[in-house]
Assembly symmetry: C2
Homo-oligomer: 113 residues x 2
């Protein structure tokens, strides 16, 4: 699972952590419905997650399209916007769960959060 | 849901985010088995999460005991230890999902991550 935080929003560490956690829970639910075997494998392997960052929403959207075309589950996190950003702001993109060799060509070059 | 990060480990923002996400996924699974109605309520309400920090494992253990005594689900995250901390290190404590008025007396005074 790769969780991509939108760098231009300059979220605090705590706010970013919560967005990453939202994405992970949403992907877990989506995978339970659509890819239960991938989910079971990922949980059995210690539910590996990596948090990375890209600057802009455009770059996140590009990653999302590439991942979706590769058959990887994707979710957007939109913040309710009570604190640091306006309501509905897309803060984080979640990809997976998938094998490292499926995700790595898409996100392997991105800087860690 | 409240996710408590162990401050003395001085994790990077990305590493802390991943620990928080581990805790959230583990709590979601635990709640699906033990408190499905609480889980459904929490998901329907936008899966509210707050990430906070306390300095030491002792303080986390104390929070865990108090939460458990109040009937709140708890999970520990132990890091596999490939990067920033030794294997098996307890990095994060997850509490919930539960109503704000159940969690607030226990964690409401803690600083945000």
């Amino acid at each position: 699972m790769v969780l991509v935080v939108r760098g231009e929003l300059r979220l605090t560490a705590g706010k970013a952590a919560v967005q990453v956690a939202h994405a992970a829970v949403l992907l877990t639910q989506k995978a339970a419905a659509r890819a239960p075997r991938d989910l079971a494998d990922w949980l059995a392997d210690g539910q590996m997650k990596v948090a990375v960052t890209v600057p802009t929403l455009e770059e996140m959207s590009s990653l999302e399209r590439v991942a979706r075309a590769a058959g990887i589950l994707t979710v957007w996190v939109e913040d309710a916007g009570f604190t640091e950003v306006p309501p509905g702001t897309r803060t984080c993109l979640g990809l997976g769960p998938a094998r490292v060799n499926a995700l790595d060509p898409i996100t392997g070059g991105l800087p860690l959060l």
